[in-house]
């Protein structure tokens, strides 16, 4: 949490005349608030006596909170679900929810509403659930109250939501609970029976124990083995085999054998083994499912942004709300302040500034005027504009990107994970061993068919891969959570294995390897001090670079930030402005590199030019990555000299300049065709396709949202070091997975001869199975300890 400040700390650091908005914490010049919306939200919160919120919340300076808006922008009534009792339910996504205090604030406000049945925020999924009886129009009032606090609400289509719910995960946990119940109870009964075998327990008591075990275990086994049997049947119907085939065969055979033994009044039954086996296997499955969960959520959020309503301007001047898909190219779409533009198109009327971070990754507001191209998913921060639609629904850039992500996910699904590769060899081996045991006992030794079958079943039980099922997911979960605490998010369960196999890293240059820096000879000292004083009020990357380039400059009070344009300060002599060429009232074509202009009364306009500079730790990271045997190359859209210079100073021999998104993808394809495994690190929207095309990919958390969604790894902070960290962690994880698989196969080699010889009784099977699972779990946590050091 180093990047976050509590309100108390912020208050200590700020001078008494705060330059940060009291509501959202953004720079606000000399004012208490940065905008009227924040002032209103602050008043509302204080007026309700909920000022405690400001003391409890945790602000993250890196996230710009949404600005409070107002007005009915959504046709909420359409999203309300009314059940038979007349209870209306509405589910809204809450944007701007940052911490527990936000949950408290929203719920406290809603708690004052009389006879509201539910007003509860789910912090994990960032959704607000409202339920009330009666008038559906009340939705607008309730939503307006929450929006008045400074949050932005987006309604969810409930049918869409139900489809996306994690049914599989829940079914797995239910099966796990049932298997656990059966394992615990049957084991109690079995312990009694095992002790009874040495203490002269009567056959009647033993049979009773076996019957009770059967009554508990059989229904539970039927239920808990369903996930495995379904998956095994699906694999067999496609003519393949997977780990679930021996599991299903083993569990079924053992249960049927034990039932027959119970009816015959035999000595041993294996109900406990079958239950415990399923219990351990399901733990592995649940962990596995959890490790894969994150990617699903991200794609869902993107889809949600797509599912909004738009206002279409009719010929007679009135507006009509309709779904995005219903808009025809050429229609005029009205987009109000704080609304996301629903279509791709060009601005027809109005001037505003837009937040295009979702689409382009540019975190600063962009000015838009008639003729500007805009894309679906862009947020309108300023006045209302009219957009002439050119692409709608499934043809927008956003929809294209969602399709791209889905295609990439599907392609990655074909990656054969380590555990499945082992399973392919393991399954036939186990079944052949069991069959050979049966034949040897029945034909060669001439034993009764029943005894031979029991021995063969024992072979299947002890080889059933419960340690193998835990081997990979435990390591995945342990390493993923360890990396998460270091600010590195792994979004895909198989990313670790794909990272460990990487042989080549391809870096994008601009924004990934480099950052902007002030050209030293660009100004005289006095002007620089003034400019830096202004720049100290802003978090714009160029302002930060200017401040860093000027040494320490005192922050000037009273500066007003004009988002997307620049900064201004009123002095006795007139207005000082720092910002873009246009903002400063200058004409002329833009320079090659990024620049800031300073205009002062009575002085000539001054230009601060910036150039891209390598990140401080880029060279060290590149060296360390090469040291672990991985090739490094650069693919950049920049001109050749700039790329060559960067490559030479980093000691990278292979670089490609003037790359388009398509040629980057071609480059990656050609590398893969040479048998290399490509790890792509990039941040811009133009990197999206090659991030998806690479075997595995990473983006900094400052990248375009779309790049982050495509990338397998998202890392925080300005440093490149996470690239190295994640590669090392992946290799250690792969080593731990291999050790685990080795351990579980080694254990099988040890006990299979015992089982073939007919010495494995139920209690030996139980001990062997549990101890091998614990061994594998212990080894996974050992990998965590290593990562820490």
């Amino acid at each position: 949490m180093s990047a976050t400040l509590t309100e108390a700390q912020t208050a200590q650091r700020s001078p008494p005349a705060s330059v940060h908005c009291q509501h959202c914490g953004q720079p606000s010049g000399a004012e208490r608030f940065c905008c009227a919306g924040c002032a209103a939200a602050f008043e509302t919160i204080q007026g309700l006596g909920l000022g405690n919120y400001y003391r409890q919340r945790v602000l993250n300076p890196a996230n710009r909170p949404p600005r409070p808006e107002s007005g009915e922008r959504w046709d909420l009534a359409r999203y309300i679900d009314t059940d038979a009792d007349g209870v209306n339910t509405l589910i809204l996504a809450v944007e701007g929810l940052t911490c527990g205090a936000c949950v408290w604030l929203i719920e406290s406000v809603l708690a004052r509403e009389p006879d509201l049945l539910a007003g509860r925020v789910n912090m994990t999924t960032r959704r607000l659930r409202l339920a009330w009886k009666g008038d559906t129009a009340r939705a607008y009032r309730l939503a307006a109250q929450v929006e008045g606090l400074g949050y932005r609400l987006v309604p969810f289509d409930q049918s869409c939501l139900r489809a996306a719910e994690d049914q599989t995960g829940r079914a797995l946990i239910r099966a796990l609970a049932v298997a656990g119940f059966s394992a615990a109870n049957v084991m109690f009964l079995s312990l009694g029976t095992w002790v009874g075998l040495t203490q002269n327990m009567g056959p009647a008591t033993r049979d009773l124990m076996h019957w009770v075990s059967a009554l508990i275990a059989l229904p539970c086994i039927c239920y808990a083995s369903l996930p495995f049997i379904r998956s095994a049947l699906a694999a067999l119907s496609r003519g393949r085999t997977n780990m679930d085939v021996p599991i299903s065969v083993g569990v079924t055979l053992v249960s049927v054998m034990s039932l027959i033994e119970t009816m015959r009044g035999g000595l041993h039954t294996y109900f406990d083994s079958a239950s415990t086996l399923l219990f351990f296997l399901l733990i592995g499955r649940v962990l596995d499912h959890r490790a894969r969960g994150k990617a699903r959520e991200t794609a869902q959020e993107l889809l949600m942004l797509r599912a909004g309503d738009v206002s279409v301007l009719q010929a007679d001047g009135s507006t009509r709300r309709c779904r995005q898909e219903a808009v025809a190219p050429g229609d005029l779409v009205l987009t109000g302040m704080g609304e996301r533009i629903g279509v791709d198109g060009t601005v027809a009327r109005g001037e505003t500034s837009l937040d295009a971070s979702l689409v382009t990754g540019e975190s600063l507001p962009q000015p838009a005027a008639p003729g500007t191209l805009v894309f679906a998913g862009t947020l309108n921060l300023g006045d209302a504009i009219t957009v002439r639609a050119t692409a709608t629904g499934n043809t927008t850039l956003l929809a294209e990107c969602v399709r791209l992500i889905e295609a990439a996910e599907a392609a990655r699904g074909r990656f054969v994970v380590l555990a499945d590769r082992v399973a392919r060899a393991y399954t036939p081996a186990v079944h052949v061993a069991a069959l050979a045991t049966f034949l040897a006992w029945y034909l060669a030794l001439g034993r009764p068919a029943m005894d031979s079958l029991i021995t063969a079943a024992a072979v299947l039980i002890v080889t059933c891969p419960c340690a193998l099922a835990l081997a990979v997911p435990t390591v995945q979960v342990v390493v993923t959570s360890r990396l998460f605490r270091q600010g590195i998010l792994l979004k895909s369960g198989t990313a670790l294995e794909r990272l460990a196999n990487a042989t080549t890293v391809v870096f994008d240059k601009t924004g990934t390897l480099t950052e902007p820096v002030l050209l030293a000879d660009s100004s005289d000292a006095q002007a620089l001090a003034i400019a830096a004083g202004l720049a100290a009020n802003s978090r714009h990357p160029l302002c930060r670079a200017l401040l860093a380039g000027s040494g320490a400059a005192p922050q000037l009070p009273g500066v007003i930030e004009h988002p997307g344009l620049g900064l201004s300060l009123l002095r006795d002599g007139g207005e000082i402005r720092l910002g873009s060429r246009r903002f400063c009232g200058l004409t002329g074509s833009a320079a090659a590199g990024p620049e800031l202009w300073l205009v002062r009364p009575g002085a000539a306009p001054l230009c601060f030019a910036f150039q891209e500079r390598l990140r401080p730790d880029a060279a060290a990271t590149v060296r360390a990555v090469r040291a672990i045997g991985i090739d490094v190359l650069i693919a950049s859209g920049d001109a050749a000299p700039a790329v060559q210079q960067a490559a030479e100073s980093l000691g990278i021999a292979v670089w490609h300049a003037q790359q388009t998104p398509a040629s980057k993808v071609a480059l990656i394809e050609s590398l893969r065709a040479q048998g290399k495994r490509v790890f792509m690190v990039g941040d811009g929207l133009n990197d999206g396709p090659c991030l998806a095309a690479a075997d595995v990919s990473a983006s900094p958390s400052t990248a375009a949202d779309i790049s982050q969604t495509v990338a397998d790894v998202v890392f925080q902070g300005a440093s490149l070091r996470p690239v190295l960290t994640v590669l090392r962690a992946a290799r250690r994880a792969r080593a731990a997975m291999r050790q685990n698989i080795g351990l579980s196969i080694g254990y099988n080699l040890l006990v299979v001869p015992l089982a073939v010889a007919g010495y494995v009784t139920p209690w030996i099977a139980a001990i062997a199975m549990s101890s091998s699972s614990l061994l594998v779990l212990g080894n996974a946590f050992r990998a965590q300890g290593k990562l820490r050091s």
């Binding site: 527990g100 994990t124 109690f188 008591t205 009770v212």
Partner: protein
């Protein structure tokens, strides 16, 4: 012998009760918002309390 029957019935009943309780907590969505639950414990007034539907 009689005591055995009672004990077995009792243990199965207790285990089944725990299972039913767990399935109920799962169904009523108590594991849907683990982040929220971790933060809710820090809210120190009862303004947000309400019977949920």
């Amino acid at each position: 012998m009689n005591v055995l029957v009672w004990l077995i019935l009792l243990s199965v009943f207790l285990g089944g009760g725990a299972l039913a309780l767990f399935l109920w907590t799962l169904r009523s969505g108590q594991y849907d918002d683990l982040d929220g639950a971790a933060n809710r414990i820090l809210f120190d007034d009862s303004a947000a309390k309400r019977d949920e539907v």
